[in-house]
Amino acid sequence: MSETLPRDAATAGPGGTDDVLVRVDDLVKYFPVRGGGLISRTVAQVQAVDGVSLSIGRGQTVGLVGETGCGKSTLARCIAGLIPVTSGTVTFEGQNITNLSRRHMQPYRREIQMIFQDPYGSLNPRRRVGSIIGDPFAVHKTASGSARKKAVQELMERVGLNPEHFNRYPAEFSGGQRQRIGVARALALRPKLIICDEPVSALDVSIQAQVLNLLADLQQDYGLSYLFIAHDLEVVRHVSDSVIVMYLGRIAEAGPKDPVYDSPRHPYTNALLSAAPAADPDAAASRQRIILTGDVPSPINPPSGCRFHPRCPKAQELCGQQDPPLEVKAGDPSTHVTACHFPVQEGEVLARSGRASGGQPR
């Protein structure tokens, strides 16, 4: 897998390889499935992430999209050092931070922070907001007493919360405000990378825009890098410099956002993009939806060859036998890579017109 993966697939910035903040090489994460009985032994492996390489440039935003269960969040947690990695490496500013002990990981925790999906679940309901946002200072012993309180209030002001509310409990805030609390907590230690695990998925659309704009402002002010995970393709397009499309633990397609969105090569990317609703009714009427059949296969027993082939409208015999390498396809810029034997050509129609429902152009 790894030898064929261009390492800078996702680095689209002008800095190129020199300005890489985080590099992930051939990351593999399998979760053991234990059998029942008195002595539990591993009976199977959930191949949540299977050989993913990517890099995130300084000040860049890398979008990570894919269906539920494709390994996006697992990848994020591996990079954040929250779960041990099965194999592969995570490098931060040239330092290998894979599977470090908690003590050795501590300095990197300041640099890599996370914003979580659920604004209700990610804040401790029994602690006051001031204490939640002040937690990073307490854990890293960087400020205490009135200095911590002052820092917390500055952070609250920065993310658009009323600093006088630091004595309240999370339950007294709305979803959008709670997500701002999460942003403030992630921002407290002035990290270089913030991993956003579907930060706006749980929010109302108008609130989504506010939080996204806040994240964009913070990126400008502090030069942050984001790894931005989302379902919403338009959100990813709005915030990202480059995009990675994942399918069943592997990268299907990756590259700067414009080539990926404008001329997607992988049939899966095409299907994802065609499923996104269009705001313009004329465009919506003329768009062709590619209807994928079936569900995502089980990551315990993934399909042979190309993992997408059982659902792919273009699948041929080769696809079930040989794993397609992630490589630059003809006519693409060198940063745009696709793992497909039969990449989609410009103007090609993938929608199967013969299908009964929804497959036909409406």
Binding site: L82, S122, L123, P136, H165, R168, E172, Q210
Partner: protein, 343 residues
């Protein structure tokens, strides 16, 4: 309308009423609900009175003019050598078979009962919460061993342990406290372990880990506040259990040795005299019953106040009545052509 405009409006709406709203902690809310519970407040008053009596026991003894362990053969025994009934010779609740003042002894008994109840609950709660948190959070073999240990403690016949300890070391107060604590912590630990198991999977625990918080910080700063409510309820309810437990051990002669006035000891002495001296049995038994009922009712009240979703049987009637009062009257039968009633 632009985003900032919406934001501005939202801010204006947000700011206006907020001045009056105080961020209320869980404890403030619990106290507010508890205050409305007449049963719990009455129990609390009873407990405060009993505790005041226990603390002021020497003052009561001085007032009565009798020491708790002194025999008064001249005034405290009848002509035939039996206990005197309440009210004779200044013995408010009568005397026992040796001519000791029953009133003073019952008051002094409250000291032992409350002391044992509070101390064992404190020990059991601290031990149970710590071990429950550790096993629940770390899981693995630590959890396996401790969970089996808790199971065996809960399955162990306490009388056997108390009996053997009393035989080996002789009955004493420290052994009573040790035995009761040993049989109380396991239940608390089990509840805490279960809660910790579920809480540690929450996203905010993952958030704490991503900040670099260590296991002890997560256990005691992030998880513990979330299970204080069930622990407080368990602790309040384990006080009366410990008091009864102590009285039982005393009664069986496995607890605090006899000259000391405890409710269990007095009851043990009363069992051969109750047919001729009813007061000897009734007053210490009443003290024990009132104390345990008061603690139990307070515990129920605390539980209800912590979790407003639970309802007590006799509280349900009250709530139903209130609901009926606030419910809108049944809609009047509509005549054809009549205007629908306007709200």
């Amino acid at each position: 309308m632009s985003l900032s405009e919406i934001e501005f409006q939202a801010k204006a709406v947000e700011d206006a009423p907020e001045e009056g709203i105080q961020g209320r902690s869980q404890w403030a809310l619990t106290w507010r609900r508890l205050r409305r519970d007449k049963m719990a407040i009455a129990s609390m008053i009873v407990i405060v009175i009993i505790a005041a009596c226990a603390i002021a026991a020497p003052a009561f003894a001085a007032l009565a003019g009798h020491a708790p362990n002194t025999v008064y053969p001249n005034t405290g025994l009848s002509a035939s050598g039996g206990p005197v009934p309440p009210g004779t010779h200044g013995f408010l609740l009568g005397t026992d078979e040796l001519g000791r003042d029953l009133f003073v002894r019952v008051i002094y008994g409250a000291r032992v009962s409350l002391f044992v109840g509070l101390v064992t609950t404190l020990i059991a709660t601290v031990a149970g919460v710590s071990l429950g948190l550790i096993t629940g959070y770390f899981g693995g073999w630590v959890d396996g061993i401790l969970a089996r240990f808790i199971d065996s403690v809960l399955a162990f016949p306490y009388i056997v342990l108390a009996l053997s300890l009393a035989v080996v070391f002789g009955p004493s107060l420290p052994i009573v406290i040790g035995v009761i604590s040993f049989f109380t912590w396991a239940g608390i630990s089990r509840v805490v372990r279960g809660q910790a198991l579920s809480i540690k999977e929450r996203e905010y625990i993952e958030a704490a880990r991503s900040l670099g918080a260590g296991p002890w910080r997560i256990m005691f700063i992030d998880i513990l506040p979330n299970l204080l409510a069930p622990v407080l309820v368990l602790a309040t309810l384990s006080i009366p259990a410990a008091i009864t437990f102590e009285a039982t051990l005393d009664y069986l002669g496995l607890g605090v040795p006899p000259p000391t006035a405890t409710w269990g000891n007095i009851l043990a002495g009363a069992q051969s005299y109750y047919s001729v001296a009813w007061w000897y049995l009734v007053f210490p038994a009443l003290a024990l019953v009132i104390t345990t009922i008061a603690f139990n009712l307070l515990g129920d009240g605390v539980r209800d106040a912590m979790d407003p979703r639970t309802e007590r049987v006799f509280a349900a009637g009250r709530k139903k009545r209130r609901k009926r009062r606030t419910a809108s009257p049944p809609p009047a039968p509509q005549l054809p052509g009549a205007l629908p009633p306007t709200a």
